[in-house]
Symmetry: D2
Subunit: 426 residues, 4 copies
């Protein structure tokens, strides 16, 4: 299935007049306060977030998975799904491949398909947290950190293979999420594990093409429940520094201990020029992988406030690889992704509304009440007309969710693919 | 200092035209969606939150307290301070006394003062977590739960005294926050402590006037750091049931373990007809007592969504005693309270916008995406014009913070009271 | 495979002399302090913990599962595995069946098998958190709490079927772990979900044989990541009270929010006569299901201290159903269970050493230092000789782990069953 | 009051015989397993922990403080108190001064006093989290991180003054605990705050004598409740690296988010040669500052296991500055410290029992069960006879708590000092 511009324009028609009124009213109000509405809308239009290839099917937990209908059963169908979302939202113009789940069979065909849907190939992801069928070595006790050189070599080689695959598609970065760690005190030696990891990462780093970057993810726990080798930003940062200037930290919103101040971590990494990637999701308890913005939208805004600040003030930091990393256990995965994309754009738009000069002045004045008023004024603004305008200008839907339903996308996919297909992945 | 209606109208003048435009535009949009805007504004206007008598001065931590200027040094000045906030916000029409910090000297005068400022006397609060000068018994090892009958009797009598004080002022409820617990494993016997507490509460309950209620607060830790006798809603609920129908649980937002689902607790207590009081604040780590809505405004909205649902669907539950229970460590206490009141009204207004019928239909349909859209649609609405309209109709300020500053309230208070006054309390 | 008494005595031989010396030395020391060593050893000997039928194979996480060799592939083999553990430890004399994973084909044969191994049938467990093949209704949006009556009826009927199965085997209780809840705010109505759950539980309760009990488990989150219907002991307790005197709460150590004081919950439930069952495991972050005592052995001791106190002082509370509920991701499941059983016995033995009279005196005296000394004195005692003696007297191994390895149990199982068998379960 | 050797020997007399038996039995058992008991006892004897000058009086919370009797009211009396503990435990041979609470009046006299009690002057601590009377600038909005240069200069100068004081006493390190941060989002600019802090620390670092080190403490929250400038080990480590080779991180057990794996942090810092100091206490919820080992003794053991490993394998790491940093709210401060010292020695002794070679072999073999057995074997050993022996050899009490009580220390102190003295500090 492919959604044509005509279809989108048709679904937009009925809401166009009221959108225009809302947008004009808001734009007028914001302009009076000094905001450059046109520039903000333009930034929203340019902002693109990658969809991971594993996120197009229903997710699950260790207690099982409830099936969903019409899931994509091939990489091509996954890219088509992203194409559907992108046509409606105009903000999902990239795919992030997970290897070995989604190794292309025909590179040229896959690239052509993605190209036709305006989808770029963003960071590629390796997998050394599961054993693959017929693998010689097992990752049960670790991969890049394993005490066995043979296991480490297999894991290193896998990462090099992933780089090679990504390179053929136009990707420019490798994301390494390392699940390595231990389930019980004493199981591994923290120092040995860290040193092995550093050495393994350096081997992979050597294989990076000149214009690539390596993104090192961190996470405090799960799937290991006592220790994780790269447990926090400090460890990731240390390893990125050890590898070299093309190595960066990657922040995943769900990968923190309770009550962490994530926005401060983001800010510090950007100051140091070491924030390379960002994974969006939301959570209440652990790495719950819920829809972005569904639980703590204000925290998301505060994080975006730091991201915007860094993008404006930290030239030492590279462009970021943005990706949604959520699991869709009880929703249509495509609708879930649309809701995530909307929440991301909303937080971005509100952060762009913060008057940074005024904020700085209030901070220098220790006017804490004013500082809070400035952030809350931006946050309390209903920015949905700005998002709709950005989509409209780019040819997307005024309301992607409504359009998705009006166009009967899921029913068409079920018709095309059958009910009981299952996407590869977790 | 007292703020006259004229002064408020003056400060409103310049913003009135733009307020009217914003309100009309929003009201029109909401009406089209089916909302009864007039009814919502009316509810906002009626909603009153008590200010505790200890919250008018600067707060601190165990590491010390930084002073603030022009603090009230008597109960009368505290009530005047609340009068100032109430005149601007029209939503702080009550005071909640803390005994023994604020025992009236002249009841008639205090009542007349409050009456003149449209301030009611809400729940009275006892204090058995500190030793008072010349007290016969010490609460170091507990009060209502103490193994010593003499200590328990002193604590019971204090609560009866507090009821007596409140009764003379027109209060209708007693809030019991019991800090009792232990700092080390083994220090007390959980069962004995609970039974003593139950018996002591029953004694106090016997002294309740017929039209009074007793509100039993719970808290997991602090100032005791191993166990707390009334550690959670389950314990509070059990004790309230044991005491009788005039005993209720009281929820304080900061009194929960990390990641608690507070809105569910609120909902269950209202279903059982046992939610009697509610303390507002916000927090990131523990009982941080920050400005309401400053950290997790979406959680506050979700809680209000349950409160509104309960107020509409649970006739078995009584009217609630609302109070702000925050500490003002780095802000002008009065400005801090104004920000809290604004955040409360905002969450309430958004909750009132939720289309309950539509939500119920989506829930019955297991349309999880739609359920989320309904809540987020309400939450994303910029309801500030509704709040301003409610205040305007009640004679308050369009923007209380701006008016407070424009009227130079703090400077006047410093002039009247001197710089280095210190409010009683923590 | 079956381990004979002869084999066990053989493995014990070399350590017997040193065991005797250690035991005598310890017993002498303890006796001097006033402990009744014989009585303690006798209690340890009598203490039996059920092994759940799903715990004999390797566990996993949502990120996958690493295989283990020689897993049992039938209920009979699972019971044999428990028999192996029990013969070595003499403390695993019960099995807890999970339905529908382990429905007996031939009841008489299964009973005879278990009987021959001295294994009783403890609580039976229902499963309404997964859809079974060919099930008419799906539990994706809940089971006992579902808004659809048909779904609730299917879930109720399943529980009644489980009772029926258990009844044929000699079980006397049903454990209901209800995963029902929601992943997103708004997804369900808290009050409706709770009321449906209460009504469903009452239906199941009606089907309980006269000498059975129903154990209601609680858990704050997972597999649902926003809310869980039975989120805490307070909810479980309320539901148990609503159902009747044969309904009890069940505590699982991993089912609490961070920093919960579990021992206090245990104590309060026993005081109220409502603690019916207990699931052992350990965890650092969430419901990690690690080996008992591997992370927080002192907390386990403190909990046992309350259990022992309750067993001695709360005749209103029934005998408890004890079970290990852990997941074996990186260890041989049988070795893991042996380690868990050892840790349970250790905590129990230490709790039995606490001088309750002395503790009570210190508590009444508010001698906090002494209270701590009393608990720590018991905890710091090396009680392993007591455990070994209890096992020896019952015909078990002095060191179960060493015996397990010396006897080459796993190798024999692999030989008998083949390498790549997979146990049913998660 | 001073405790003489004669008094101690007297109190030891009655327990000597039974101690000898217990020690011999244990030593014999351990020797059979390959442990070098003499070497372990010798290490225990050499291990000295500093007592901070603020810990000799009763502590409190933001809700108040319950008084205790006979508190020291001068620096001299504080040092005498430490002398009392040291004479009994022989493991508290150092004091850590807090400035400005404990500035010596007469340096020579104070040094002579300490010298006579075998007490060294360990790290000195600065205080920029409180305003001192007559201070020109306020730290309300930060000190080393403040946006005002004048405030930063005042804070830098204070630290230089503290170095100067310490230098006159023989201290060799400065501990900087920086409470700076913010209570509300937007209050400060994370990047500016961090850069100001780094620059301020570099200024202080310039003033360090050649043989001194600077210890940089971190803490996630409190007294600031939204953000803290040095929020975690990663930030502290980054700042220490920026300052130079004499700057190190300092770990305080209570300064971590819930569920942190502290032992891994310790291990990584030692690998990098950057762990300079260590503060002992225990906690269940936040920075509760409870008696060491009173809540999570196994975690303490695991941390000591890494400390011992690092001391044996990481020559790149300096000797550590050890200190107890607890608050004594419900116990006699001296008894509380004695319990803490005992718990520290216990954890240290158990860590020394771990067979590192065997552990390494099991780790290389991925024998997770064995790894756990090795750690638990050490942990489950009752090492109290080793501690008593080390104390006996050094001239201390077999049981310090019992001796303290038998000698009537507190009563004598009350007699000497009066009941209602109050120690300076929090």
């Amino acid at each position: 299935m492919k959604i044509s511009q005509n279809h989108i324009q048709d679904t937009n028609k009925s809401g166009l007049q009221s959108h225009k009124e809302n947008f004009d009213f808001l734009a007028n109000n914001l302009s009076k306060k000094g905001a450059n509405v046109e520039a903000i809308v333009s930034k929203l239009k340019d902002f693109q977030v990658a969809i991971p290839s594993w996120a197009l099917g229903a997710g699950g937990t260790r207690f099982g998975r409830f099936s969903f209908y019409g899931e994509p059963s091939s990489l091509e169908q996954k890219i088509q799904d992203i194409g559907l979302i992108h046509s409606l939202t105009q903000t999902a113009g990239a795919v992030s491949l997970h290897i070995p789940w989604d190794i292309p069979q025909d590179y040229a065909a896959v690239k052509e398909l993605a190209n036709g849907l305006n989808i770029k190939f963003d960071a590629v992801n390796s997998n050394t947290f599961q054993d693959q069928k017929d693998a010689k070595e097992t990752y049960k006790y670790g991969s890049l950190s394993n005490t066995s050189e043979a296991v480490r070599q297999q894991a290193i080689q896998h990462n090099l293979d992933v780089i090679n695959i990504g390179n053929q598609l136009g990707s420019k970065s490798l994301t390494v999420w390392l699940a390595d760690g231990s389930c019980f005190p004493g199981q591994n030696n923290f120092q040995t594990a860290l040193q092995n990891t550093e050495n393994s990462l350096k081997e992979i780093y050597k294989g990076l093409p000149a214009d690539w970057s390596m993104l090192i993810e961190y996470k405090p726990y799960e799937p290991n429940f006592y220790s994780t080798v790269i447990q926090d930003w400090g460890t990731s940062f240390m390893l990125a520094n050890a590898c070299g200037e093309k190595a960066y930290s990657l922040v995943d919103l769900g990968h923190h201990l309770p009550n962490s101040n994530i926005e401060q971590i983001v800010s510090v990494l950007m100051l140091k020029g070491k924030l390379g990637g960002f994974h969006f999701n939301d959570s209440k308890y652990g790495d719950d992988d819920l829809t972005v913005g569904s639980i703590k939208p204000y925290a998301l805004f505060l994080i975006f406030n730091e991201l915007v600040y860094g993008m404006q003030n930290n030239p030492q930091n590279p462009d970021l690889a943005w990706m949604i990393d959520a699991s869709h256990n009880v929703k249509d995965p495509l609708e879930d992704l649309i809701q995530s994309l909307e929440a991301i754009q909303e937080a971005y738009a509100k952060a762009l509304l913060v008057d940074q000069a005024e904020l700085k002045a209030a901070q220098l004045n220790n006017d804490v009440v004013k500082c809070q008023e400035i952030l809350q004024d931006a946050y309390r603004t209903d920015v949905r007309p700005l998002l709709a305008e950005a989509r409209r200008l780019a040819g997307g839907a005024l309301s992607p969710i409504n359009a998705y339903r009006a166009l009967g996308v899921r029913d068409t996919l079920i018709e095309e693919r059958g009910k009981h297909t299952v996407a590869t992945g977790l």
